[in-house]
């Protein structure tokens, strides 16, 4: 009963946040230098034509009217048109979204698979060899910007060692895309049993997701280490040792289970970081996702896609945080049953 209330309460709290997000993304494009009408009408347009375009785009109206139109458009699934492609932004977006999701999820998975065990080992073997290695990886991971990591990986794995495919998109040029189910090539080709596509898609995905994973693995591993260290010192862990439980049960059953709460929080933050950080990595690896799309739009001052990208990242942040809150409830009975 109280858990249902907890869930509804969290969902209700999302609504004002979403309103704030739309306001900010709306203001952001209005504050950016440059007139969107100029982009659409072209640099050589006459003042009269420019005024017509401004009227068409509603730019002559007061700000609150523009905002109201923007929100009502959003509610109808209308994100405006891209001035450079001439297509509805939503269409462009939905076409590119699976590529970004695939990259983000893959890098999150790699970061978890490497970062969480590294953090646990560093905590259990505190100030031993593994911990020092973890510390070095942490410093390097935080210090290297992801475009640099990406270029370095391309140089080593593709150019020098020739074990990775050319960093050009999601599939090798001679391979057809798998039947679309989720739009994520690795998932789709695995679902349809298309092994050639699966092999190529996984190979293409590996370097960019590793690049992204590297930048978030470090904070994740440090967070896991810190919370594990704190929990390993707690009374209930001491009581568990005193009860003669096997060390594996204590470390993975007791300590990690309790450390999940701060780890989940970090994953939420890290996910937001990934959504913003993938623009750079997508551009380095010619990955046809929404980050690349927004970056191209930024170069041409195409306000629709930029606005939508900001909005999308912010909204996904909100929903990830909602998911984090709900996951707390599952991980911690103190929240579930107050």
């Amino acid at each position: 009963m109280s858990f249902v209330y907890f869930v509804l309460n969290r969902i209700a709290l999302v609504i004002p946040t979403l309103l704030g997000v739309t306001l900010i993304s709306f203001m952001l494009t209005n504050l950016l230098p440059g007139n969107p009408a100029v982009v659409k009408a072209g640099a050589l347009a006459t003042p009269e034509y420019l005024a017509t375009v401004e009227r068409q785009m509603g730019l002559d109206q007061p700000l609150y009217v523009q905002y109201a139109r923007f929100v009502s458009g959003l509610l109808h699934g209308d994100l405006g048109e891209s001035a450079s492609t001439g297509r509805p932004v939503l269409e462009d977006f939905l076409q590119r979204l699976p590529a970004t999701l695939e990259l983000t999820l893959a890098s999150l998975l790699i970061a978890c698979l490497l970062g969480i065990p590294l953090g646990i080992l560093s905590a259990v073997h505190r100030d031993k060899f593994v911990d020092h290695v973890g510390r070095v990886i942490g410093v390097v991971g935080v210090a290297m910007p992801s475009f640099w990591t990406g270029l370095l990986l391309i140089f080593v794995m593709f150019y020098a060692l020739e074990i990775a495919p050319a960093p050009l998109g999601r599939l090798a040029p001679n391979i057809a895309a798998p039947t679309a189910i989720t739009g994520m090539y690795v998932v789709d080709s695995a679902l349809t049993g298309n092994w050639t596509a699966l092999k190529s898609a996984s190979a293409q995905l590996f370097l960019p997701s590793l690049t992204l994973a590297f930048s978030i693995m470090a904070p994740l591993a440090r967070m896991v280490r810190a919370s594990m260290l704190e929990i390993l010192q707690s009374d209930y862990i001491k009581a568990a040792w005193a009860a003669g439980l096997p060390s594996r049960t204590i470390i993975y059953g007791d300590a990690l289970r309790n450390a999940m709460i701060p780890i989940i929080t970090t994953l939420g933050t890290v996910f937001g970081f990934l959504m913003a950080g993938n623009a750079v990595v997508e551009s380095v690896f010619a990955w046809p996702g929404i980050g690349n799309y927004a970056l191209a739009a930024l170069m041409t001052k195409d306000s629709g896609p930029i606005q939508s990208f900001v909005l999308f990242v912010a909204i996904s942040y909100v929903f990830v945080n909602l998911a984090v809150d709900l996951a707390y409830g599952l991980a911690d009975p103190r929240i579930r049953i107050g």
């Binding site: 209930y236 009581a239 568990a240 005193a242 009860a243 003669g244 439980l245 096997p246 289970r257 049953i337």
Partner: protein, 325 residues
Amino acid sequence: MTALLETEALTVHFATSDGPVEAVDGADLTVRTGEVFGLVGESGSGKSVTAMAIMRLIQPPGRIVKGSIRFAGIDLATLSEKAMRDVRGSRIALVPQSPRTSLNPVMSVGKQISRVISVHGGLGWRASGARAIELLAMVGVPDPAHRAKQYAHQLSGGTCQRVMIAMALATSPQLLIADEPTTGLDVSIASRIIELLRDLGKRTGAAIILITHDLGTVAQSCDRFAVMHAGQIVESGDTRCLFRAPAHPYTHALLRSIPRVDADVVLQPIAGSVPALLHPPAGCRYQRRCELAMPVCCEKPRRTSVSVSHDVACFAAEKKYAAAS
């Protein structure tokens, strides 16, 4: 009665950058089968460290430097870590100081008890779950089947301690170490917990080491007890003997500092404070607080028998005893 646990010259040091902190200095203890044995001392006197050393749970930088811990015929001090894990929780169990924080907050209390049973008793989860509920009933938790499904934050402090006791008794241990089991509990609940421990000890035949700083609790529930001061056992023996005729000046001073309702006595505080355990004075560590201190106190006093079940480690007491006999 036979000795269940015998420590000899048990010494625990904690390494620091300034040198070792000598937390326990040559502790000799004898706990007999089925008795309630009190371990008394001020905060920082090494009571808990001694108990943790017996369970071999001293964490680095702490280390058992020397001494033997003979428990039911085996020396725990030299036992392998794996073999020691089979002793912990199954033959020697701990009732910790702070029951609420000693329970895993994200696991139901029933599960926490039942997994100890399944680890040591080899029972399946269904059987150990049922046994957990039986144990909760035995330690006086009302509606045990319902309570077993609850989490630590839903229970009162007293109930949490009953859960810890149930967990400690889960595998019928021969020795129960209760480390200040009533800290943070109401006085009435505290005395009920002590009563419960004593009663369960009698029923299961387990010996209990009761660590406390409360001499009232000792007088009420311990068969024998030992007094610790700054990491040294200064006196040990039969509760009645010790209360009637304390031989060590520290025990004497402790008894004088107990408020009494039956006599109008001015309480006398003990002079000074527990000496620092980093570079402690050589010999008896009570010498600087002691009114009977002599030059010879710089040497380590031997354990001397005052009567059949009463030992003391003090030169002044030894002299007095020798003169009297």
